[in-house]
Symmetry: C4
Subunit: 358 residues, 4 copies
Amino acid sequence: MALMEGRVEPPVYLGPDELARLYSVEDFESLARERMADAGYRYVAGWAGTGETVRMNREAFGRWVLRPRALVDVSTIDPSTTVLGQPVSLPVLFAPSALHRLAHPDGELATAAASVAADTVMILSTSASATIEEVAAVARDPWFQLYWLTDRELTRDLVQRATAAGFRALCLTVDAPVGGWREGELRYPVPLDATCRAANLPDVVEVETRLTWSSLDWLRSISPLPLVLKGIMTAQDARLAVDHGAAAIVVSNHGGRQLDWAQASLDALPEIVDAVGGQLEILTDGGVRRGTDVLKALALGARAVLIGRPVFWGLATGGAAGLGAMVELIRGELVSAMALTGATTIADVGRQLVSPRF
Amino acid sequence: MALMEGRVEPPVYLGPDELARLYSVEDFESLARERMADAGYRYVAGWAGTGETVRMNREAFGRWVLRPRALVDVSTIDPSTTVLGQPVSLPVLFAPSALHRLAHPDGELATAAASVAADTVMILSTSASATIEEVAAVARDPWFQLYWLTDRELTRDLVQRATAAGFRALCLTVDAPVGGWREGELRYPVPLDATCRAANLPDVVEVETRLTWSSLDWLRSISPLPLVLKGIMTAQDARLAVDHGAAAIVVSNHGGRQLDWAQASLDALPEIVDAVGGQLEILTDGGVRRGTDVLKALALGARAVLIGRPVFWGLATGGAAGLGAMVELIRGELVSAMALTGATTIADVGRQLVSPRF
Amino acid sequence: MALMEGRVEPPVYLGPDELARLYSVEDFESLARERMADAGYRYVAGWAGTGETVRMNREAFGRWVLRPRALVDVSTIDPSTTVLGQPVSLPVLFAPSALHRLAHPDGELATAAASVAADTVMILSTSASATIEEVAAVARDPWFQLYWLTDRELTRDLVQRATAAGFRALCLTVDAPVGGWREGELRYPVPLDATCRAANLPDVVEVETRLTWSSLDWLRSISPLPLVLKGIMTAQDARLAVDHGAAAIVVSNHGGRQLDWAQASLDALPEIVDAVGGQLEILTDGGVRRGTDVLKALALGARAVLIGRPVFWGLATGGAAGLGAMVELIRGELVSAMALTGATTIADVGRQLVSPRF
Amino acid sequence: MALMEGRVEPPVYLGPDELARLYSVEDFESLARERMADAGYRYVAGWAGTGETVRMNREAFGRWVLRPRALVDVSTIDPSTTVLGQPVSLPVLFAPSALHRLAHPDGELATAAASVAADTVMILSTSASATIEEVAAVARDPWFQLYWLTDRELTRDLVQRATAAGFRALCLTVDAPVGGWREGELRYPVPLDATCRAANLPDVVEVETRLTWSSLDWLRSISPLPLVLKGIMTAQDARLAVDHGAAAIVVSNHGGRQLDWAQASLDALPEIVDAVGGQLEILTDGGVRRGTDVLKALALGARAVLIGRPVFWGLATGGAAGLGAMVELIRGELVSAMALTGATTIADVGRQLVSPRF
């Protein structure tokens, strides 16, 4: 793995034996909370308003139970699938998020290395602490998340750099034309310093507030990459995404950082799945912590899920190896849960695997 | 701002920098609890019976979630509206409540000044600690809340003073013909003293218990002001309010101070909105603490909301400036939530913005 | 009030000023817990199995909210009613319960005095610590609760003594043919001693396990008193009570002391009210602590309610005066709640006063 | 009772007087937690993933309430029934579970003795710490639980030893073709040592992952015993069990140790009862702690229930006598609850005894 130059002395990260004694993503979080600088941990944990959407994202998974099946040959279980035609070894992608160097000095390069090891897709944030080109040199077929800025030339430049560097899709964030009422970040501001800052942006930028559905034409005119819209939460907007040629959507409320009291992502998923009728791929994020969460989201119609905050916890614990170990935990839970519900491939996963909790 | 004469030495109130570090109405409450005399804070917090209606008022907002919308031009968001034809810069009014000098030596004059700064309507209580005329000199187009007393001449005098002083509406409280079983006030009685007493009433008054709908005729005969009925909680009474010519109603349970186990105001709102069919304006209060609460109440059919206890917390923290800062927090949350639900004006706010929480 | 002879030195009971500073039945309970011998308090608090029915009895009231009404003339509110034709000043009776001397040396004689002062009905328990004749000398028109014992002659004797002494109804307990699994009493056995024992029974008695509906014929053959069946919890049994000529039933689960996981009394009430169609009077008990609880039970179809454990708390706090003060609290809450829901008499109380809590 | 040779010095177990002061299975658990080696207690308490299925198993019982009935002759209450034609004195069997010597040096031989004393069926686990033949010498008509191993000859040998030793049914576990994500056991591994190990297995075995419904033919070809399938959780699999000639099923999620977020057993029961239509016998386990739990499960259609972890708590407290005392507690609760719901025999127990909790 490429290392960033000039980085500060790293803390001591966990080795393989120690990582093997972490049994859940919650274990990683607990350890990350101890190991990360408090300001960094709290910024990552940030929330809008009351924080209720953050909590609802988790609770929504608890409203579904799994239906075990018996006497199915489960000698091989294959959790691999594809997203936008790209093979991934499991339906778990790395969500775009700012400033991975908050968690580890290798930042997004460690994330990229972990995505290669796990054979899945990394989505690089516009606000990354590594450059587009640095990440492209490590990652395999990553996607690029775009904040559409008021500076149209800067926006064009970001898109064209990503396209040129081999990124495979553009993931436009559509749920943040204005900032949420981010009480988390008001109380615990992002701890920027010389070693951790946005590597692809000038110091001051503004997100464009005037975008509409027809604005997507310009984006398509400057890049051939398929377009993924991140932050769709209603059947109406999902239909509009189909009508405007999006290749995929991410059913997401920005991890509860934008609109406080936004519905939980998982709660919004079924109406969107029904409205889309298979006309584009549906990803989702928000509160995914367990292989059983992944299975529930897929059973309700998602093609794959994204993990956001857990990426930081994995990095903080053991860099690329830590994040990799965390993905293997999720894979282990997922494979076990697939076997015990009688689903030997992702194609077997459907609504019949879940029931509403009484 | 006019100051009341002879007031005691004030505590030190927060300046702008300190106010800017309060991020929610809950922050204001925490600080007010520290700063107010305990007896005053607890009197304001008072409740009927078990206090369950106070809790239900808050919980009711938690039963609704917001539906984010994407790719709407949100470069300008306008939260202004009108109430009874009066323009207000946001749909948040100051509820009538007794004795603002419990929170700040300037009392209702500070409230009036804040209402001017925020460009919204203040509703002055019959039990105010400033006189009708003093408040009229500071406020812009305030409303007057009336307790209809057994002393008919005193009642007439209050109404005619308010009318003469330029108040723009009469807000008759109809949910307190008898006292609630106010356990809060039994345990923490109102701390009256020379600096804080009802300025418009003799020491002993009684509320009239014999009022019926036809009693409103007399009220209309002595004042041309439009009539707002505060404390309507059923579709039946809302229809009666229409039939008897009320200009507006306030769906309210008196902040949980009157009938214990009264339904939450927000829970009563939808049936009333449906019953009224737009034939009068519907305001509501009870538990509003966030811009997202305001948006939910409007989405369910209210024209505007009132805040009650928060007024005291704002005053206690920084007088008129404190209350003003608190209103700006609510405005900030509201504007952000409007943008993220795709509502650029109050006219865009409707039932489609909310879903029942699963 | 008649005092029992030979009683031990009483603790000091509260005077009127102190009682006036108790604002709820919960206040009385807290004080009783401090003042009663621990063994006595805990025996009274006893429960079956997990104690869940005790908790559900209380929770059931929380599933209903009250609907306030406005602009009704509430200058007079009358909570009086009748039970089996007997006038009572409020729809709250004293439930039968064992051994009131656990709470106060005057025991059931204090209870009887309080029932006279409050102008309501006392139901004397077979297991009382005062004799039938002693209570008859103090109470006005009390009822007698019967445990039908295997000793048929003893049972006949109890019934005939009560009839002769002027009791006005027989209240047969039908929910205790065998003991419940009383974990409460297993852990905290009844603290009998020379000053507190069953005054109308020999030391060892057994309840008859073989009773059926036709057994009631014998009971009617030995006494002309109207028959009240206490412990009916289903529509089926309520219909059978009608068919077998009961004058009234008490919808009751024995305060959660008999069948653990029995449905809450209030939850069972509506189906029973519908099944009975007014053919007998329906009382209920279990968890009544507030005037608002009384109003909810009546709104759902009960004619009156019984209070059980609170009787002990009232006695423990101030003897007959304490119990009387507690009844006046409940009356105060009830009258306030009637006024604020627009019900000026008990005849006005109906299903329209309540809504299911959202 | 036969004692195992070479056992370590036992702790002092409770005598009859002490056992009589335990009033619930929860009391047994509390005491077992103090008395068992921590590693053993925690292994027994083990769970999959978040542990939510363990919690849901308990909570499911709380969603049903019991309906009391009055004036039924309850002078005799008979809780006896049959399972696969075998008479049992109450509808509570001992579930198969590994390594009873974790709780008591006599291990499964104590369990067997308790099953004889209680006149019920013990199901011996493949992973028992006593041999098939040792248990057969003590138990009366036990059943044998089978883990079908990849070593086909070993599997055949286990089945044929059990058949030869007089076991009366084969209980094939079908919910564990792969291990669950057993976080409990990852954190608290099974504490094997010389005195506590699987007595019927070599040190390393693997469960067969390739079984399907047609695999059952081979099992039937090597033993005439009736087949019980343990771990059926859906109507579909229950129908398949009927179609493939199972004599009974156990609606079970392996006590929450296999598939995390599997539905509670009791929640799965009604759809299975409806689907099976009486064509095989339905047992269930998971969270049964009370006689009222037993009654609810039977009311919802189970023929009998199994208790798992409680067996360890009984053994740990007093060996065979402790387990026996615990069964008598459950019997006492069951008999009391049958009487108070008017069910004098198990044949009287039906859906009419329960209502959904409001």
